[in-house]
Symmetry: C3
Subunit: 269 residues, 3 copies
Amino acid sequence: MFESYLDNVRNKRPVVHCITNYVTANDCANVLLALNASPIMADAPEEADEITGIAAGLCINLGTLSKDRADAMLKAGKKANAMGIPVVLDPVGVAASGFRINIASKLLNEVHFSLIRGNVSEIRTLAGECDHKEGIDVISEGSDDISKAINLAKDFAKKTEAIVVLSGKTDIVTDGKETFCINNGHPDMARVTGTGCMLSSVIAAFLAANNDRVTAGAAAVCAYGLAGEMAHKRLGSKDGNATYRNYIIDAVYNLTEEDIKEGAKYEMR
Amino acid sequence: MFESYLDNVRNKRPVVHCITNYVTANDCANVLLALNASPIMADAPEEADEITGIAAGLCINLGTLSKDRADAMLKAGKKANAMGIPVVLDPVGVAASGFRINIASKLLNEVHFSLIRGNVSEIRTLAGECDHKEGIDVISEGSDDISKAINLAKDFAKKTEAIVVLSGKTDIVTDGKETFCINNGHPDMARVTGTGCMLSSVIAAFLAANNDRVTAGAAAVCAYGLAGEMAHKRLGSKDGNATYRNYIIDAVYNLTEEDIKEGAKYEMR
Amino acid sequence: MFESYLDNVRNKRPVVHCITNYVTANDCANVLLALNASPIMADAPEEADEITGIAAGLCINLGTLSKDRADAMLKAGKKANAMGIPVVLDPVGVAASGFRINIASKLLNEVHFSLIRGNVSEIRTLAGECDHKEGIDVISEGSDDISKAINLAKDFAKKTEAIVVLSGKTDIVTDGKETFCINNGHPDMARVTGTGCMLSSVIAAFLAANNDRVTAGAAAVCAYGLAGEMAHKRLGSKDGNATYRNYIIDAVYNLTEEDIKEGAKYEMR
């Protein structure tokens, strides 16, 4: 199903404009380079639309949000919409403050997102269901009830006309019609900062280099999760989350179509 | 003496709000995740007190200081004081500019810090003793005269009603009454950027998860220093400070109460 | 030719003030520490000249440019000029926006740079030859025609009275009179974010610790490229760009004068 999605990224080398947080920007740039994509990390409002103008995809990430960064996001998002290139939203920790919720709402009102990726807490907050607050790197276990999670994702996809990627024990990728349930990845990825941010960057590259966006999103989730599994197998007894971070990026670097064919674990619902 | 202090962090998973510099924010987030704590890195003034409101500890770090970040620190610090949660100050490079000294003074006037951690140059500057300037990552050798260092730390602890951690060849942890002299750590840690910032984050997590704050601070210093020693033993002949950085975080990830029991090197003065 | 240039850095431990982007600031700090230099990363306009005042070298990097950061660059650059310490400019992605071009022009008008390092696209943009746009981490292959590249570098060196380092398959270092063509490095360095930024930081340290600036620049380019080669040899089949990043910094940490004597590949033109 996912043939050529990864190779399209490696061959087309899409320029991906990331307006992202300073905590994991380095990891996001390196994971894009691992895919052979071409990252541009830039967040000044003065240049946001011009930078997007030379990109094939845009990734907006709400970690370490500021007023200026939010302004850049709006400008870049509108430019991307005008160009028709994919825009990914990663609403990091949106439940944690009214400031984030307000900016996220504004973005959702003024920019059409191709894909929104978050955990249960983040997607619920965007969907207006609750304002449950927790640490940003805590992956909610709320997705145990898989059919509830699917409904949350599908409803939000229909409402926003975006593909929704709901990250959890099982990752859900849906455009409201087609739904992928994906079981790649490893629980210890939650112990590495930026694994979510990196995934969103990877998704932006996959969307930028492929036409069928919902399948491209699912392929990206499988590919990145699989890299997380392969990286975990390399870990020795003295290794921890720092080495794991490096090995995840390394695994993305070395990942092949063959690996994905053999290792992707998903079902359509 | 330090039994259960580490395990309390691992089990309680305190949310630690870090208002920190962009140079080492990634390392601080990963070292907190290595402890199984839950980092939130956020520095917008618009959300600072709300983010602190969901945290169990606050860590304020003056590296890459800006006006906005200083504003966030004041708001978050006051909120933390109102909540009664621990607040740690890491006055990175405070001796390097009047801008930093002024903001540090304002913070010390308006926020009660539970613990202040710095090297001799930084603590002396805060204490108003001198404005000796040097590179931020240079660890002053001024602490050779251990009793002078102890007096500096104790006096400043009494003045600020904070625990003071004076980092040097021997680390001193004191609340003005109880004083720990700690000989864990490795000199090569000074060749890795962010080892001080990471230690301050680790301390914030230990204070957030334990009641006896001075012992918690000392336990954190022993634990982190010991991780630095264990990481150093893993290094091969071609490894340098980048691999050392990763191994330090890895060692924190794998550190046990047993390790601390066997490896903590301290005496009470 | 390059004897003692590296050891001068290791022994003098120059303080290098970096006003740089948040994507690779951590790597720049660590590569400076790998050289035993002393990094200060600080970008607030309020303290820029004071921080430069305690430095032996200044490195200005246009990645993740903002109005405030640009303000700090101008102030720090003028202070460095007044002090007579070396100032390095890395015009990251300058071709990507009018905002960057305008700030770069202002900097070139108001600050005298000792050395400017960029790829063909960046140097051409600064020289006013074109405004070709591409991903920031894409290293242009335009330098295949080596004599054209040399002319570009020499002309720009004469115009700016700066040493110019033109990074490409062959790196060119010239002050308009003496010209080094350097063939160290490895193509895979382009797959690691920040290899250019790190090189610019390394150059700033070499210029700060040595008197003959054009030779110091060439020595830095050889040394860093050689570290990239040595690091590449360590890579195993499962390693990728994350491990490569770490090994490059590790190799700088372990690099010796002997290595440079044996491994430097350059010719004078």
